[in-house]
């Protein structure tokens, strides 16, 4: 039997009416802040105290938007006759967010945990040059970095946690020996 003429329209209007009686699902940004999960890729924060200027992030970046300058400094010789040691000092660390593709490879490859994701996203600029965040601005983002979420019970133990546990067990074992 063919459907009654106009029944399709009536059904559609019924949906509209039903929705009208429900609460709106729209969040009125910027009055309401969005609730973002900790993994959210908003901006990249630099913990420059951890950076050893190894350049891995700048090399692995798919569009080369990380700029790093550094120089070498020689440490004063500790004992006479010892070899003078040098270390790298960071002069400039900048990320050009007008080029960044937010892939997170830099954060993944950093061997010393100097880069982190932050869910902050409100840094639009009038001038494209201002989207290049220098080290002080990147350091500021560190205050917004959330704690990583706990993992699913079925997940493997994170390797940092496993390493810490083995170290703790070893230390406990040594204490047991001396006691």
């Amino acid at each position: 039997m063919p459907p009654l003429p106009g029944s399709g329209l009536a059904k559609g209007l019924a949906i509209t009416l039903r929705t009208m009686t429900r609460r709106s699902v729209t969040d009125e940004y910027p009055d309401t802040e969005p609730a973002l999960p900790p993994r959210s890729r908003g901006t990249i924060a630099l913990f420059e105290e951890n950076c050893t200027v190894c350049m891995l992030c700048a090399r692995e970046c798919p569009d080369w938007c990380i700029y790093i300058d550094s120089h070498k400094e020689t440490l004063p010789v500790e004992r006479p006759g010892a070899r003078a040691r040098t270390h790298n000092v960071l002069d400039r660390f900048a990320i050009d967010f007008s080029l960044c593709m937010y892939c997170g490879i830099c954060i993944e490859v950093c061997p010393f945990d100097a880069l982190f994701w932050s869910p902050e996203f409100e840094y639009a600029e009038e001038d494209i040059a201002d989207l290049t965040h220098e080290r002080d601005r990147l350091r500021e983002w560190m205050w917004t970095v959330p704690e990583p979420p706990a993992l699913d019970p079925a997940a493997e133990e994170p390797k940092e946690a496993a390493a810490a546990r083995t170290a703790a067990e070893k230390a406990a074992g040594r204490e047991g020996d001396t006691a």
Binding site: L9, P62, Y102, A150, P153, A155
Partner: protein
């Protein structure tokens, strides 16, 4: 006015440009239509306005960096695009992916399929003059995008696949929230059946319009829901199962229609969305039963695919995506050829549009469900 009174039809032909900036083209597709009055006599899609040279860029990127670029050509199916690339590299390496990663990938690929289809379920009625469905579609998209963002950190470009598995494991409680989101979206999916599919105006504008015969679809290499609406019963998830689809055979239903018109294409898309949600639910069920385990493989510092070549294909939301990977044993591919669904699907316009009225052009164009980035790469 040329040839006044001559009655020579050739002289009254007009060439009409649609695009490259046109709201119905989802990007910058240009159509060159030859018109006789209101009727289209010839149509030619002019592609390439968004060409970004992705394949060439792949040649200077390692396999992790390729994932960044590969998830962008079809911006509505980022997860599925990533999947194809890592699938090709894994095939090349003969690498076995941990079982939890396989089920998680299947789950996320199906959620991505739903997200992709919801966009077209909303935008297609919009192109035909129906304003409301797009709001319902975006409500559901938002629900699922929250789930995707919680696990991967991204709303569109997930960047969650790695060669050998996934980037990282799930956050605690994610599976529960994902199941709740899938259930919520499933409970409201009937909106599209009632509001769009049952609507007389929508049916009048799409039924019998833009009929794509099975043979033409086959000749042009049309794939995905568009091809299945023309009776081409072919779906890689069933016919050449990858990921965990082999074990989901009792849940997977391949939506096929014989009519080949705009309505059939929309029906296939809608049915496939319903089914993708069922598949996602089944994956979540299986995931809960799996023993604890890793979701990725330990990779060497420098990952190199062995010398040789491989062709893998996956059933992307919009159709077949093929990846021809040629490696010379370097850490970058020597060549990675992309076969994207939209490119072939859009070529069928040369056959579909002639003989149609210009008013039906938008209905036909929208019903081919393409993303211009996927055409131009």
């Amino acid at each position: 006015m040329v040839g006044l009174g001559a009655g020579d039809s050739a002289d009254t032909d007009m060439v009409l440009n649609i695009g490259p900036q046109h709201p119905s083209t989802h990007g910058v597709l240009r159509l060159r239509l030859r018109m006789q009055g209101e009727r289209i006599t010839a149509a030619e899609p002019v592609v390439g306005y968004m060409h970004r040279g992705a394949e060439k860029l792949f040649e200077a990127r390692d396999y992790r960096q390729i994932v960044v670029l590969a998830n962008r050509h079809d911006w509505l199916s980022a997860f599925s695009n990533e999947l194809g690339v890592v699938h090709a590299v894994e095939t090349m390496l003969g690498m076995e992916v941990p079982v939890r990663a396989v089920w998680l990938r299947t789950l996320l690929a199906e959620l991505n399929r739903v997200l992709n289809h919801l966009m077209f379920l909303g935008s297609y009625p919009l192109e035909l003059g129906g304003m409301t469905p797009v709001f319902y579609a975006f409500r559901e998209r938002e629900e699922l995008q929250a789930v995707m963002e919680e696990v991967s950190g991204g709303r569109m470009h997930y960047m969650f696949n790695r060669v050998g598995g996934l980037k990282e494991d799930l956050p605690a409680g994610w599976t529960r929230r994902a199941a709740a989101a899938v259930a919520a979206v499933r409970s409201r999916m009937g909106v599209f059946d009632d509001l769009v599919l049952g609507n007389e105006i929508f049916r009048a504008r799409t039924r019998g319009v833009g009929v794509l015969p099975r043979e033409t679809a086959q000749a042009y290499g049309v794939s995905g829901p568009v091809a299945r609406a023309s009776g081409l019963d072919f779906d890689l998830r069933r016919d050449e199962p990858y990921l965990a689809y082999g074990e989901l055979a009792d849940v997977l239903r391949v939506a096929v229609r014989q009519e080949g018109d705009c309505l059939a294409r929309f029906e296939c898309l809608l049915e496939q969305t319903h089914n993708a949600l069922e598949l996602a639910e089944a994956c979540l069920g299986r995931l809960a039963e799996l023993p604890p385990g890793p979701v990725n493989q330990r990779l060497p510092k420098v990952l190199k695919a062995p010398e040789g070549h491989v062709y893998t294909w996956t059933e992307n939301p919009l159709g077949l995506n093929g990846y021809h990977l040629v490696s010379r044993g370097e850490k970058t591919p020597w060549r990675l050829k992309l076969r994207s669904a939209s490119f072939n699907n859009v070529q069928a316009l040369t056959e579909l549009l002639p003989g149609c009225l210009v008013a039906d052009m938008v209905a036909i164009l929208g019903s081919l469900f393409f993303v211009v980035g996927d055409i131009d790469k």
